[in-house]
Point group: C2
Chain length 482, copies 2
């Protein structure tokens, strides 16, 4: 211990909620968390006692360290810090800053990469909250997280949150708290904790062009710097019924579509390497539009249900009966959450309007004729593609029935959906190329507008991709297109 | 106006920063924002005066309304609310809550769908911050946003932020402020503003399985409910040089790869419809592993540079010279930000280890042999695929050189990258199927671990996708695989 540290000024250490340490025999401790138990050896009785206190009501780091030091000297103390490091690396150690015996803020590691290090504030340096740090309410508490950080901070006290507010502006430690009713030295200790947690990180060149929502998403939808459940956890299996494989067919009339002869295609299609080599984005559509028959063949080859089945799927806690509806492209876990809508401006044999593709019966379900919403969708697409609106023939809008994925997959649900959208784009590109049609994937669309146009709840089903399809016009030299 | 409203208790209205209203002739106003000007007719002199005040120092809504009502009666007042609605719909109207003449919080619409409505708090109802609402620092201010909301709230005063802290726990309006030094009626008015902004929204069934990072990302990477710049804005063109099309080749030895005869493949490949029909995820790899020659052909058909060129690209403010390197799959704006790495456990002719694929020279650059990091990558992949680690042959890890996309594209950069990953997955599936290899796309990986293993800055380049490749074993009945 450094001599400048006063006892009781250090962090109050405790185990994370749900974690337990129990003695096992004379010289071992068992660590229980998340249904798992791991055992480690501890031959030092002073450390056993310190660990028992940690696993019970907790204790100040310096006091625990002093007890161990008094009983077993520097060697015992080294072991103490080894155990503290071990618990921290396993994301089980909470470090709380107390003021007047009440917790102000608690630092909790959320990945094994979190490195705790003592820090000293420089009184004349200005500190500032990173633009990537964010506060939100979770389980009735205010938490502070950041995709730059391998830790989470729980802000127990409104004065702590108020201090974080003040750090939106760069300020010296002595100026941060004014006029929040918090003692200056307590404020300084809180700023130190925020610094240790990685919330006051400076901007580096590689962060310059990252946007908040992008970096948060990258950090949370992949492993490495969070402690969220991830992957096929089926966490809603006991709360919500499995979302259906297919949207119920609409009432009302629907339009049957042409079905190509698949066996003939398997004999007569160009070789795969030819299709791959010939594939390109084409934005130059012909004056004579695509036909309903071509649209039928395209949708059949891209999106029809190839196989429907029901399966008893194993889950972490048992199994669940789910229905499935495969399509002609791959989908993680065979969830197939994507739906296809056609915003038609010009197609021979099909009225201008908005349609839903029903993939089981291979039919189009009319939603509306020409409306302001349809014009809006086509207009956004023409801007996104950089071509005149009169050029458009068929805009295919891809939606996701989000719950089909998020009911099963934790943390990765939306990332999986966007990968599926990419899979579908490439499938559309290849099929359009094989059919000598003009394909062009788009970069963005309006999800609120689409939900309104098709009459869905934005959170249940809204758009995640857009693709233009038409008949091929003259030469297309879109030099930097897809 | 309702009689219960006291003058000065209403919101203080002003124009958003950067917006200006100027008179044009005797009966028109010109509205300037973001480099654009729109003109609207206003024949009422009382409204002209009110609008001038709005465009100047601003004013309390009730006072402005009373002035118009006194001068021109109910008809003038109706016009006043029409203009207020117009400015609000265009996201140009700020509504501020003042306490002691200083702004406490300001509500700013961020989409044309924002609907402002008077609200009354119910004294016995409990209010609570939505788990989707979040606060962060931006431009030295603390903002409160939510993917459920079409508005943003700026929290000017630390007491406002402290009150938001208290709303992490459901509480009645009278209990929310205690012990924050803020008068109870002011706290109630702030809670009303948060309610109007959509920050206290209740959870609906369709929100149940959404995670915060997913919904935030969906709302911000697509049009509809934000006012961020979006699409190919080239916003860093004057600050940062364009990121290079290709990673500089590594020094040291590299391994030349087999190049297939593309013309022969274009004659002899199976028809496209056959490949599409035969494609499936295969997790059952043969005991005899894939060969280096197969890996070479696979990478050549999936990822080589097919064309390199330099182009003078138009930007909103002029043009910029960029280099490009096309691959055999589509990429938005031809940015091609994805890199391929091979984590090899078993491949005939190639040592176990980690390699980078150099797509211009079609060579493998060795990074490391068998290390803990390599074992870690293979271990995460085997868990993700649900197969034993000894089964693995080649794990292909896809990274993104993020800046190549985010330098050009705003709001949609990471979404675009994930679509590209999906495009690449499907390209890999098809090529592997044509080559009679076993392909299997994975759902997740560890981005921090990969960055460490290849020695890159996580924010410059880390992993966004994983794919298994091997030789085909016995029958594979992965019933719900891709």
């Amino acid at each position: 211990m450094r001599e400048t540290t006063r006892v009781g000024d250090s962090y109050f250490l405790s185990l994370r909620e749900g974690a337990r340490l129990t003695p096992k025999g004379a010289d071992q401790m068992a660590l229980h968390f998340g249904g798992r138990t791991s055992t480690f050896r501890c031959e030092s009785s002073a450390n056993l006692q310190a660990l028992r206190q940690l696993g019970g009501e907790g204790g100040f780091e310096d006091r625990l360290a002093q007890q161990v030091l008094a009983a077993e000297g520097p060697e015992g103390l080294a072991s103490f810090y080894y155990y503290i490091g071990l618990l921290s690396q396993r994301c089980l150690l909470r470090r709380s800053l107390l003021a007047d015996d009440r917790p102000l803020a608690t630092l909790i590691p959320i990945s094994s990469s979190f490195k705790y290090a003592p820090q000293e504030l420089e009184p004349d340096r200005e500190y500032r909250l990173s633009r990537f740090a964010f506060m939100r309410a979770e389980d009735s508490e205010t938490t502070l997280e950041s995709p730059l950080s391998h830790a989470r901070v729980v802000l127990h006290d409104w004065r702590a949150t108020a201090l974080v507010h003040d750090l939106a502006r760069a300020c010296r430690p002595a100026d941060a708290s004014d006029p929040i009713p918090i003692p200056e030295d307590t404020a300084a200790r809180l700023i130190t904790l925020l610094l240790q947690a990685g919330m006051l990180t400076d901007e580096t060149p590689s962060l310059r062009s990252w946007e908040f929502h992008d970096l948060l998403f990258h950090s949370r939808s992949r492993l490495g710097r969070h402690d969220l459940p991830i992957g096929g956890t089926y966490r809603f299996v006991d709360e919500l019924p499995p979302p259906l494989a297919l949207k119920p067919a609409a009432s009302g009339d629907s339009i049957p579509l042409y079905r190509p002869d698949l066996e003939k295609l398997k004999r007569e299609d160009p070789p795969f390497a030819c299709v791959q080599d010939a594939r390109r984005s084409i934005r130059d559509f012909a004056a004579k539009p695509i036909t309903l028959r071509q649209v039928g063949e395209f949708l059949y080859r891209v999106g029809r249900v190839t196989e429907g089945f029901t399966s008893d799927v194993p889950t972490p806690g048992g199994s669940v009966v789910m229905d499935f509806a495969r399509r002609p492209y791959p989908s993680g876990g065979a969830v197939y959450e994507l739906e296809l809508y056609l915003a038609v401006r010009a197609c021979e044999g099909l009225e201008t309007g908005l349609y839903h593709y029903e993939p089981r019966t291979h039919r189009l379900e009319p939603i509306s004729g020409r409306t302001d919403d349809l014009d809006g969708l086509l207009s956004v697409a023409s801007v996104s593609a950089g071509i005149a609106g009169e050029q458009l023939q068929v805009l295919i809008v891809i939606t996701s029935r989000f719950q089909r994925v998020s009911w099963k997959y934790a943390a990765t649900a939306y990332a999986l959906t966007l990968k599926h959208v990419g899979v579908l784009y490439q499938t559309m590109y290849m099929v359009a190329t094989a059919m000598q049609l003009a394909p062009c994937g788009l970069g963005c669309g309006d999800a609120d507008l689409l939900a309104r146009a098709i009459g869905t709840d934005y959170y249940e089903e809204s758009s995640v991709g857009e693709f233009l399809l038409g008949s091929i016009g003259g030469s297309d030299e879109g030099s930097e297109g897809h």
